[in-house]
């Protein structure tokens, strides 16, 4: 496996970017669902978590 010379991450630059963008997208989706989504069921389930993290959800 090629190691990118500018980075200490042991992935090729292309794989690194794919993994990174993929992680950012899934991560944003999960945080949105738990923290911001405007659904009453999601809100009630995550209520204390949303307050604790300071999400602006209501």
């Amino acid at each position: 496996m090629a190691v990118s010379s500018t980075s200490s991450v042991t992935l090729s630059a292309n794989d690194r970017l794919v993994a990174g963008v993929f992680a950012l997208l899934i991560g944003a989706f999960l945080v949105f669902g738990a923290g911001l989504a405007n659904s009453a069921v999601l809100h009630d389930t995550a209520h204390d978590t949303r307050h604790s993290y300071g999400f602006p959800c209501h």
Binding site: V9, A19, G20, V41, D48, T49, H51
Partner: protein, 266 residues
């Protein structure tokens, strides 16, 4: 190989989510429950308490000791925290569609589940940021990554929008969410320029990016009166920021550890 990096982030996120749940239950949830007693509070009329003459001190302390010593109330509190039915979620003055906790879980399980999802989400965001920027997260630098994540996601947005208790006044939801997301993105970009880029231009640009949303200003409510006592709000803001700092440092460290054990073990 890509999957291993995502797996490492998930493991770190789930682990941090469990520890965060414990920290929340200890420091934050009691304050939320306390604030909910005042939320909308017509009957208990806590607002009149301040206007009570000081000669009423004796009766006030009496009600306080009652509040603290009543074993029955404590048992009820404990029972209600395990019960799937909770009236506390119904926020005053909101048109609620049919709510309730998913799968009929208890309030605690709902919080745990939400923390697991949130923990995994933030872990993936942190790992993604590290992968895209090309700076790896290790055990040695994990705590610093975590602290930077806390600054970008909690501390800097809290300057404009401090963590709110139930029953606090707030500006329009959409405006706040836009400001909040924009502040996190700008702060993260600013911190990247400040810490990971060389050169005086990058440092100055970083500071400008971090300052920009604060100078612009967060949407504020027109009327800041609330039934919830201010002291409770102050305690809550500090508790929320302290527990999230704990969460992010655990997350950074465990992500560094998981990167070294899982991602590089191939």
């Amino acid at each position: 190989m890509i999957v291993r990096y995502l797996l490492a982030a998930l493991v770190a996120g789930l682990f941090s989510g469990v520890l965060m749940t414990a920290a929340q239950e200890a420091r934050v949830v009691p304050l939320i429950l306390h604030a909910e007693e005042f939320e909308g509070g017509g009957e208990t009329a806590p607002a009149t308490e301040g206007t009570t003459p000081s000669t009423d001190g004796a009766t006030q302390t009496q009600t306080q000791t009652q509040e603290h010593s009543s074993l029955g109330a404590v048992l009820l509190d404990v029972a209600s925290s395990f019960s799937p039915i909770s009236v506390a979620y119904a926020h005053e003055g909101e048109e609620h569609e049919e709510g309730g906790i998913m799968f009929g879980m208890s309030r605690f399980s709902g919080t745990l589940l939400a923390n697991l999802v949130t923990g995994s989400g933030f872990a993936l965001l942190l790992a993604g940021f590290s992968l895209v920027s090309g700076h790896s997260i290790t055990v040695a630098n994990g705590a610093l990554w975590g602290a930077a994540g806390w600054l970008a996601v909690h501390m800097l947005p809290a300057i404009g929008l401090p963590p709110e208790l139930p029953g606090f006044p707030a500006a329009d939801l959409g405006d706040r969410q836009v400001w909040w997301v924009a502040t996190i993105v700008l702060s993260a970009a600013g911190l990247y320029l400040l810490f990971l880029k060389d050169g005086i231009v990058a440092k100055i640009a970083g500071i400008v990016l971090i300052a920009a949303p604060q100078v612009y200003g967060a949407p504020q409510p027109g009327d800041i009166s609330s039934n919830v006592p201010a002291v409770l709000g102050a305690e809550f803001a500090v508790a929320a920021l302290a527990t999230t700092l704990f969460f992010w440092i655990v997350l950074g460290l465990s992500l560094g550890f998981a990167n070294e054990k899982i991602a590089k073990a191939a």
